[in-house]
């Protein structure tokens, strides 16, 4: 087995942006090295899952989306169509985010009975804010935010991406994303604890 010296983060945890190590791993995976695939999936699959899970609230759908993302990644890498050198992470999470957006679009067009079913599975944001535990309240508050705020929080915290990688993925300046992230956190704080947000502002 080919051994590549690189710094690999703990399984499922965001890395420290060691793009050279990741690129070497991706190159091995592209050569159909199964151990490289095991490592790549170990590194990123739970982060992709967390991203999907936070936006869709359904663990089964999140796993399906994660699978479809890695099927695409495998096909692209092994067929030689992968052209995003040094930007693997941005490329991977762009695929994931597009799948999540597609799913949201599709389900929003479904007839009423499916929407009702979804409502049963995912209580309203206000319900969570009033009655749930800390996690439920946080999820409810995130759901109350605009889509762009939800996306930046999901990419930064659920996917564990660096702002530089998010900027590459969304093709926006890092400064813009930092400001958007800061605003989203402020809104979230205000939703979860209006009193402390008012004190802080004064």
């Amino acid at each position: 087995m080919l051994v590549v010296s690189r710094q690999i983060p703990e399984r499922g945890q965001p890395g420290d942006g060691d793009s050279e190590g990741i690129d070497a791993l991706v190159a091995q995976a592209a050569a159909n090295d199964e151990s490289a695939w095991v490592e790549l999936i170990g590194l990123y699959s739970r982060r992709v899952y967390a991203l999907s899970r936070s936006r869709l609230h359904d663990p089964h759908v999140a796993e399906e989306i994660t699978q479809s993302v890695f099927v695409t990644v495998f096909q692209q890498l092994t067929s030689g169509r992968y052209q995003a050198e040094n930007r693997f992470e941005a490329w991977l999470f762009r695929i994931a985010m597009n799948r999540v957006r597609d799913h949201i679009r599709r389900t929003s067009r479904l007839p009423t009975h499916n929407s009702e079913k979804a409502n049963l599975e995912t209580p309203s944001a206000s319900g969570w804010l009033q009655n749930g535990d800390e996690t439920d309240r946080l999820r409810g508050a995130i759901d109350s935010l605009p889509d762009s705020d939800q996306e930046i929080l999901a990419l930064r915290h659920q996917a564990g991406m660096e702002f530089k990688a998010i900027a590459a993925m969304l093709d926006e300046p890092v400064g813009t994303l930092l400001a958007r992230h800061h605003r989203a956190l402020g809104k979230l704080r205000k939703l979860l604890d209006p009193a402390s947000a008012t004190e802080s502002a004064s």
Partner: protein, 150 residues
């Protein structure tokens, strides 16, 4: 993270939520993802690369349409809307009459106008003759004279 010091509690909450999501999937999660990613594609996906024959009925229908247009016998009577005809006037049928008047070409129009002039002239000439000879038909004698002359 300097720009978000004031939000450190929220950030901690978000990180805890992310940890919870990442840990939510069971131990076999990675194996399932690996199996799904590396399994060969179903055969039908490759078969779709073969040349499609779906175009044949459409092409056939288009060819039949073209030949029908080229070879279908045309009516000798000018019909409104046909090539080289210019509609200059049209009358829609009313309820009491089934007759349609279609003036379908410049030539037809001119013929009708010329014909109506001749007919009008003839009528005027006959009226003048009648007026001129009216006094001559006053007596039976005149009628006999006319009869003899015929």
């Amino acid at each position: 993270m300097n720009h978000n010091e004031e939000h450190h509690e929220i950030i901690d909450s978000l990180e805890r939520l992310a940890e919870r999501h990442r840990a939510e999937a069971d131990d076999g999660f990675e194996s399932r993802i690996l199996d799904a990613a590396t399994q060969p594609l179903p055969a039908h996906r490759h078969q779709r690369k073969t040349r499609s024959t779906a175009w044949i009925p459409f092409a056939t229908a288009a060819a039949v349409g073209v030949f029908a247009y080229m070879w279908f016998p045309r009516s000798a009577i000018p019909v409104p809307g046909q090539e080289d005809d210019q509609v200059v006037a049209a009358a829609t049928p009313d309820e009491s009459s089934a007759a349609d008047l279609w003036l379908v070409s410049i030539e037809t129009m001119e013929e009708l106008i010329a014909g109506s002039d001749d007919f009008g002239d003839s009528l005027e000439w006959i009226e003048l003759q009648i007026d001129a000879t009216e006094s001559e038909f006053d007596s039976e004698l005149d009628w006999y004279q006319i009869g003899e002359s015929l």
